[in-house]
Amino acid sequence: MATQINKQLGDNIFLTTLDAAASWARANSLWPMPFATACCGIELMSTAASRHDLSRFGSEVMRFTPRQCDLMIVAGRVVMKMIPVLQRIWMQMPEPKWCISMGACACSGGVFDTYAVVQGIDRFIPVDVYVPGCPPRPEQLIRAIMDLQDKIKKTGTYNAREFQLRILPDGPKRFDEDELMRIRERNGLELDDHKYDPIH
């Protein structure tokens, strides 16, 4: 049937699903929201500048209001005081939306393993692509955006509600050391008495 229609109409008409067409359009028209807090932000600017030219991949339109964006690029370390802000900005972005965690600090806290620095933003907001490096080269960020485009083309939807079904996390949760600390505190173990507790 499809081949007969193709024969009839030639190259003038392409047949596809609405889902795939919407995802294709979406993947090539990303609007990033730069959440740049540290040196990764400099590489992010460099990626968008003329030398590396992010517009070749259709995602050069950076907007500083989350309401116009569908891709959040978290570039740099995020401290605990910043998490409510980060979560609020994420909630303000309209669906469908994606998140790139750029650099070692955003992915895991990096070298800043202190009371103030969050050990990976994926503990509090969903993350689609992680970019390692300290800071990553612009090529790495471009590669991450290309990977994200592949992901959008495979998992994107024409109405974003399907995200509920497709990207709910399942499987075993990773062990959380801080949860162990909270359990110990609940059980009345005085942490003050253990100055060299290996958990700390």
Partner: protein
């Protein structure tokens, strides 16, 4: 620094706090004086009036397990005479549970944020401060992270937030 200038502020302090136990010391040509916490306002006011017109820094040290130390906390005032270039370190010691000291804001207004930072990091309360609250950390923060008995990785504060999943956002 001349001998006369040095004896000047020593006389000023001894006149301002006649019965207090002042301890003068010197470290690599830096003049230091230890003042009891009860007399800190009188000492700082007298020094300010005697020409020590700039408060360069106000900070604290936690002397937990420090060799030779007898008190837990040390509040440090670094003073400068902008006319003569003379510098002076004023120190006072505090112990738990009485971590209260009169504020230096009425003497130098620049002590405002410095005292709030010291409270933020060490939990030392400056009485009489016009706007006394945390400076850097969130108001809900309960610990004082620069204390030596506070773990570097905190006590779970950095992970005490709601987790937003894909389905919720």
């Amino acid at each position: 620094m001349t001998e006369s200038a040095e004896s000047d502020w020593k006389q000023v302090l001894e006149k301002a706090l006649p019965s207090a136990n002042l301890r003068f010391s010197e470290f690599r040509n830096q003049q230091r004086v230890d003042v009891p916490a009860s007399g800190i306002v009188a000492a700082l006011t007298a020094l300010r009036d005697a020409g020590m017109d700039q408060l360069c820094d106000l900070t604290a040290v936690d002397l937990l397990e420090y060799p030779g130390a007898t008190d837990r906390f040390e509040v440090v005032y670094l003073l400068l005479n902008t006319t003569s270039g003379q510098r002076l370190t004023v120190r006072t010691h505090l112990n738990e549970p009485d971590l209260k000291i009169p504020s230096a804001v009425p003497i130098w207004f620049g002590a405002d944020w410095l005292e709030r930072e010291v409270y933020d990091m060490y939990g030392i309360v400056f009485e009489g401060h016009p706007n006394f609250k945390r400076l850097l950390l969130p108001d809900a923060f309960e610990s004082f992270p620069m204390r030596k008995d506070y773990p570097v990785k905190g006590r779970g504060e950095r992970h005490n937030f709601p987790i937003i999943t894909r389905a919720e956002s």
